[in-house]
C-alpha cells in the first residue's frame, strides 16, 4: 500500500533525476530555522520503502510553499510538490493537526477556511452596490474577492480600495457575492486534493455562467490557483496589480494627491517568484506622487517569504525560530522605511502582526498597494487614513 503510494510520488515528480545539489535547501527561507531540509525530503521520498514514519514529521508543515526551491532547481524539479504530496498522504490517513482540520472543514462546509457563514461573504460590500456578476452580460470584468478579503476586517480594506480604484477608472465589474467560494489554493497546499477539486468545480460553474473577459483577484494565491491550476479555465486571470498596471498605462487613473512617504515593497511569493510579477507593483508605486522608494536587500526572486502561505495561516508547524515576517519588518525599519507596501492579504496580515510583536507600531506601517493607490485618489494621504 505504502509502496504503491510512494512510487507514484517519486515517479510523478521525477524525483529520481534529482542530483542532490542542495540548491533547494540553500534557498529555502525556513531552512535556517526549521528542521525541514527540503533536499533530504526529496531524497528520502525517492528511496524510502515506506513513508508513514516520515510523514508524521511536523516540520513538513513548516513549508510555506513559497516555491523558491522549484525556481532554483537546476533539473527543473518541484521539491515543494513533494511536501504537498506527503501532506496529501497524511490527509488520507486523517492524521493531521486540529487547526488544519478546522480550516478544511470550514472550506468544505462554508466555502472559506475560517468557517465563516456563507451568507456573510458579501457583507463587506453591502454599502458599495457592486453588481452581481451572475446577472451581467458576458465579456465583463469579474472581481474574484477571496476569503480573506471577504471576511477579515483588515483585508476588507484592500477590497474596498480596489473597488475605489476600479470606479475611479470607470471600469464596470461584478462580484459573485455569496456564490463565490474559496479558490482552494491553500486547501490544495494543505494536501486536500479532493476538496480543492470540489471548490474548483464550484467556481468553474460560476465562471462559465458569468463568462467574463478577465478575472481579477485580490490575492496572488487565488490568481495563481485560477491561472495555473484550474483545469479548463481559459479566461485571462490577473492579479489586481497587473490589472491596475494596465489601467494606469492606459492613463485611466489620475493620481493627484501626493503621498510623501518613504516606502519599500515586499514581494508576495505567489505574485513574484511563482508568477514573475515583479515590475508592475513597483511601477505603480513609482507613479504615486511624492513617494520615496527604497528596495529591500532581499527582493524580487530573492525576496524573503512572510510565512503566510502553504496553509501556514492555519498551522504553526514546528514554530521554531524567529518569524521571517519579523525579520522583514526589522529590516524595513533599519532601512528607514515608513511603510512596507505589499500586494497580498496573507503578507499584509503576517507583516502587520510582526509590526506589533516587534513593537514597531510607532515606526512603520504595512500598507497594501491598493490602499496606497486609493490614498492618492481619495486625497486623504496627509492623515494616512485608509479606513
Amino acid at each position: 500500500m505504502e509502496e504503491e503510494q510512494q512510487q507514484p510520488l517519486a515517479e510523478r515528480l521525477d524525483l529520481f533525476s534529482c542530483i542532490q545539489c542542495g540548491k533547494c535547501t540553500g534557498g529555502c527561507p525556513v531552512s535556517i530555522k526549521s528542521p525541514l531540509n527540503i533536499r533530504r525530503v526529496v531524497r528520502e521520498s525517492s528511496v524510502r520503502d515506506e513513508l508513514s514514519g516520515f510523514m508524521s514529521r511536523i516540520e513538513l508543515w513548516d513549508c510555506t510553499t513559497c516555491s523558491t526551491c522549484a525556481i532554483r532547481c537546476p533539473r527543473g524539479l518541484r521539491p515543494v510538490d513533494v511536501v504537498i504530496g506527503l501532506r496529501e498522504m497524511m490527509i488520507e490517513e486523517g492524521r493531521i493537526d486540529k487547526t488544519i482540520i478546522d480550516a478544511l472543514d470550514g472550506a468544505y462546509k462554508y466555502g472559506n477556511p475560517w468557517g465563516r457563514a456563507k451568507n456573510k461573504r458579501a457583507e463587506w460590500a453591502q454599502d458599495l452596490d457592486i453588481p452581481n456578476a451572475l446577472e451581467m452580460d458576458p465579456g465583463q470584468v469579474l472581481y474574484f474577492v477571496c476569503c480573506a478579503a471577504s471576511y477579515d476586517p483588515r483585508v476588507q480594506e484592500i477590497a474596498r480600495s480596489l473597488v475605489k480604484v476600479l470606479r475611479a477608472a470607470a471600469v464596470p465589474f461584478g462580484i459573485l457575492g455569496n456564490k463565490e467560494t474559496c479558490c482552494g489554493s491553500e486547501i490544495r497546499r494543505m494536501g486536500e486534493a479532493g476538496l480543492f477539486e470540489m471548490l474548483m468545480e464550484e467556481n468553474m460553474k460560476n465562471f462559465s455562467k458569468v463568462d467574463p473577459r478577465v478575472i481579477v483577484t485580490t490575492s496572488p494565491h487565488c490568481m495563481n490557483a485560477l491561472k495555473n491550476e484550474y483545469e479548463g479555465l481559459t479566461t485571462d486571470v490577473l492579479h489586481y496589480s497587473q490589472f491596475v498596471w494596465e489601467l494606469l498605462s492606459a492613463e485611466k487613473l489620475d493620481l493627484k494627491t501626493p503621498v510623501p512617504m518613504k516606502v519599500t515593497y515586499h514581494d508576495p511569493c505567489f505574485l513574484g517568484k511563482q508568477n514573475g510579477v515583479f515590475d508592475e507593483p513597483r511601477w505603480i508605486i513609482g507613479k504615486i506622487p511624492g513617494i520615496e522608494f527604497t528596495e529591500f536587500g532581499r527582493c524580487r526572486e530573492n525576496s524573503l517569504c512572510c510565512e503566510g502561505g502553504g496553509g501556514r495561516m492555519w498551522t504553526e508547524g514546528t514554530g521554531a525560530g524567529e518569524r521571517l515576517s519579523e525579520v522583514r519588518v526589522k529590516d524595513a525599519v533599519d532601512m528607514g522605511a515608513e511603510a512596507i507596501i505589499t500586494a497580498c492579504p496573507f503578507c499584509l496580515l503576517t507583516l502587520e502582526d510582526a509590526v506589533k510583536t516587534t513593537g514597531n507600531e510607532e515606526k512603520i506601517r504595512i500598507i497594501d498597494l491598493m490602499e496606497l493607490l486609493a490614498m492618492t485618489l481619495e486625497g486623504d494621504a496627509e492623515t494616512g487614513d485608509v479606513s
Partner: protein, 263 residues
C-alpha cells in the same frame, strides 16, 4: 468487539443567524450547514480506536431523513463498517426519551458489546438520550466519558466531573458510554475518503420494521413538548456596563452569577 455508535445530524448554528420557523417550535434550517454532532464525532473516533486495537465491527445508527446519510457516510469513511438509518414520519416530534426508545428498538437486535453516543447534541443540548437508551436496553453505562481503557470484559473509564475533577469507574460490558468531546482527536475525513464509500448501502428501518407503535413515539409518545421557541434577551453587540469601577465590578459579578460564570 461489536460497537454501535449513535450519531445525529445537526445544523451548525454557531455562525448562523437563527430564524424561527412559522410555528415557532423549531428553527428555519433553510440554507443552514448540517454536520455530524460534534460529540458524536468523538464517539465514532473512540469506536474506531477500540476497533483498531481489538478488532471487531462498528455499526453507526442515525435517525432522520435521507440527508442523514451524509453523516452516516462520513462515519463509514472514517472507519465504520455498517450504517443504519431509522426513518419514519411517525418519528417526528419525539422527545429525547422517545428517541431513545426508537434507538433501543433498532439496537436490541444488533449484536453489541459496546454502545457509544455523544454526551449531548449541538442542537437541543439535551444530554440524556444515551443514558435513557442504556436504561431501556438494560445495560450498565457511564456518562461524560473522557478516557476508556479495556481490560477483558471490563471498561475502566474516566468521567468528567466539575472543576477539573475526574472519576474513575469500572463498567462491565455489554455497556453504553456517552462520550465527551476532547476524549480523542477525531481524524480528518477527506473528500476522496467519502467518495470511496459513496456506493455503500445504508440499511433503512421504519417504525413498522422496529415494531414501534404510534403511542411510543412522536408527539404522542413524548412526555415533554416544546411549546415554543423564543430568543433570549440579548442586544446587538455588547451591552456596555457603565458606572464607577465598583459598580462595574458589581454588575459584572451579577452577570457572572446568572450566566454560570462562578463555579
Amino acid at each position: 468487539m461489536d460497537i454501535i455508535v449513535c450519531i445525529k445530524r445537526v445544523p451548525e448554528t454557531a455562525e448562523a443567524d437563527i430564524v424561527l420557523d412559522a410555528g415557532k417550535k423549531g428553527i428555519d434550517t433553510d440554507g443552514m450547514v448540517f454536520s455530524i454532532n460534534e460529540w458524536d464525532n468523538y464517539a465514532v473516533e473512540a469506536a474506531i480506536q477500540l476497533k483498531e486495537a481489538q478488532g471487531g465491527k462498528i455499526t453507526v445508527v442515525s435517525a432522520g431523513p435521507e440527508e442523514n446519510n451524509e453523516v452516516l457516510r462520513r462515519a463509514l469513511a472514517m472507519g465504520a463498517d455498517d450504517a443504519i438509518r431509522l426513518t419514519d414520519p411517525a418519528f417526528e416530534g419525539s422527545d429525547a426519551i422517545a428517541m431513545a426508545r426508537i434507538l433501543a428498538a433498532a439496537i436490541k437486535d444488533i449484536p453489541h458489546d459496546l454502545i457509544l453516543t455523544g454526551v449531548q447534541a449541538d442542537d437541543d443540548g439535551f444530554g440524556g438520550t444515551g443514558v435513557a437508551l442504556a436504561e431501556m436496553l438494560g445495560l450498565p453505562y457511564a456518562a461524560l466519558v473522557t478516557d476508556i481503557q479495556l481490560d477483558g470484559d471490563t471498561l475502566t473509564v474516566h468521567r468528567e466531573l466539575e472543576g477539573g475533577l475526574e472519576e474513575v469507574t469500572a463498567v462491565k460490558m455489554p455497556a453504553l458510554l456517552t462520550i465527551q468531546t476532547g476524549i480523542n482527536e477525531p481524524r480528518y475525513v477527506s473528500i476522496m475518503g467519502i467518495r470511496k464509500v459513496a456506493k455503500k448501502e445504508i440499511a433503512e428501518k421504519s417504525a413498522g420494521d422496529l415494531s414501534l407503535s404510534g403511542d411510543d413515539i412522536g408527539v404522542k409518545g413524548s412526555l415533554s413538548q416544546i411549546e415554543g421557541l423564543f430568543f433570549p434577551p440579548v442586544g446587538e453587540g455588547a451591552e456596555i456596563i457603565e458606572g464607577t469601577m465598583d459598580e462595574k465590578a458589581e454588575t459584572l459579578v451579577k452577570i457572572l452569577k446568572e450566566r454560570g460564570g462562578i463555579a
